[in-house]
Symmetry: C2
Subunit: 149 residues, 2 copies
DNA sequence: ATACAAAATCTTATGTTATAACGCCGCATA
DNA sequence: TATGCGGCGTTATAACATAAGATTTTGTAT
């Protein structure tokens, strides 16, 4: 286990939104007002955000949305790789596209709830023979540098 | 990413039960009938089993148990490292103690639902500086050798 | 044996996360 | 202008999990 020395810039919500729109265009899918709004809420959140918190935040501009509304938007966005679901938190974050095509790997501070995204590309070293990986969930929970101090 | 050549024996439910009892004894905790029964059900299941399925299977010998009954038993067992929770499935498996102290890593076939447990000990290679990992969730989903055929 | 404290369990109620099913509307295209 | 589909609203319910308090069981000291 080695520490990573790279610099990891964080994109602004505005930059993420621009990228998201481009990706959506390229795929010929529609980036509707609702989807844009949900994406923006996720991108602006400092830590992984929950579906029902998104629901709350959609009100009242978007009326009184019901769960399927936000889950459909999240499904759409994650299908395009624009957001990731953090499995052990039941929560969602905007994908950091700095990392290129990658297997997402998360480091989540249990104190400040901050999340760092990394790429896990090449370090899975003990795959059962003949097993074809389609999707991986890699999440590390602990204490970040700031909170340790 | 490399394929693993080790042989991985699977213990029988009976062997797992014996080990579980020993571990429980060592820690001076009580392996009650309820806990034993829950553990046995998890150990006998071929794939990760869900809390409410456990509830169903406890009936009628254990009366009409309610959710807290099974969640308490699962908490106890996972606290001792006797079972693991599979986050992306909301399901539970018996720990395979062949691997020794380890970070559990799972390979789950989406067709047959079979699960292989491995040790992920040494291949986390890009930890943010100063981040102290307390717990990791590593789950790979895909198609196993048998189902690919 | 008996009393006590702690651990384990049961019960009720509720909180949280997610989806099924159906219908409507607006837009692209033929 | 018909028609087909994507997107979204709405109702209802499924699935997963925990809070809080009463009660029982168990180990320990007397």
């Amino acid at each position: 286990m080695t520490t990573c020395k790279h610099e990891h810039e964080h994109k602004t919500p505005e930059q993420l939104l621009t990228i998201a729109q481009q990706i959506c265009d390229q795929r010929g899918r529609r980036f509707t007002k609702l989807r844009e709004h949900v994406f923006t809420l996720v991108a602006k959140s400092n830590s992984p955000i929950k579906a029902y918190d998104l629901l709350d935040q959609l009100r009242p501009e978007f009326g009184s949305p019901k769960p399927p509304t936000v889950y459909r938007a999240l499904d759409f966005l994650s299908g395009l790789g624009l957001v990731h679901r953090v499995e052990a938190l039941n929560a969602y974050i905007a994908c950091d596209h700095s990392l290129g095509g990658h297997i997402a790997e998360f480091f989540i501070c249990e104190k400040c709830e901050n999340l760092e995204e990394r790429s896990a590309n090449d370090h899975i070293d003990c795959v059962p023979e003949g097993f074809e990986i389609r999707r991986s969930v890699i999440e590390h929970y602990g204490i970040c540098k700031n909170c340790a101090a």
